[in-house]
Amino acid sequence: MTHPFLILQWLEETLHIHVGKHVMYAWFVMILLIALAFLASRSIKLVPNGWQNLMETVVSGIEGLITDTMGPKGMAYFPMLATFALFILVSNLIGLIPGFYPPTADLNTNAALALTVFVMTHVIGFKEHGISYLKHFMGPILALAPLIFIIEIIGHIARPLSLTLRLFGNMYGHEIVLMIFLMLVPFLLPVPMMLMGVLVALIQTFVFTLLAMIYIAGALEEAH
């Protein structure tokens, strides 16, 4: 149901590495990002040009988003959130190149990302508030705490599930729609769908990063 020929899957089969194509493409994205970071930071100048210019725009954009949604406290988590944003964005966009498959169109990659957000949220919560972080789950009235606790736990477990399925469904769905259009009318008709793919890739990156920010900001604030 995906691209008929995937370069890295072919490479994986030739080299007999049995890790799955999504892992191969995730590695590829990592190499790409590391190379980009190296290129951008190789010679940092006061007046940026070339790669440094590009990366400064991206970084300052994410920085603005974090200060808008999380306040000044959120800047401590900038490295993690920016990594999520860059990794997901490049992973999503790579699917538009023929022969490449977005690693985010696979449940395993997305589950890994979403579980990282889930675990980090609670680690940050406990780090910030100590044991009184549990008050977040108790609700305002102590007598109702056992009831609220169960509901809150279900709500928190639903977060990684919805994060995973949202990203997976969007990317995989787009991939399938593109393939069906290519099967029906291969001439020019898939082009608007690919244009929409760029939009979907950007919006899903935005949504994932924003939701991660909101979850972490929720763990940072005082229990009500």
Partner: protein
């Protein structure tokens, strides 16, 4: 064989119903956001962010339906059993 025909029908109708409700919901959200921006263009940045989160939440309903439809079509847990029964 009827089993697979019903699977197709279930996936199609399910996806249709799911996107029907989601479409109405997202339309309402965008309508309100447009009204908000028209009244106060200065707040468009904040409204856009909030609307995006809301849309993502609403959209996940359709995405759940899509995942279920894909499970029905491509990873149906009962396929082996049905094929086994058909062979008998």
């Amino acid at each position: 064989m009827e089993f697979f025909a019903w699977c197709m029908i279930a996936a199609g109708i399910g996806m249709g119903l799911g996107s029907f409700g989601t479409g109405i919901g997202q339309g309402l959200a965008i309508k309100s956001a447009c009204e908000g921006v028209a009244r106060n263009p200065g707040a468009s940045g904040k409204i856009l962010t909030t609307m995006m989160i809301g849309l993502a939440m609403v959209e996940s309903l359709a995405i759940y339906v899509f995942v279920v439809a894909m499970i029905i079509l491509f990873a149906n847990p009962f396929t082996d059993k049905v094929v086994e029964l058909l062979v008998k």
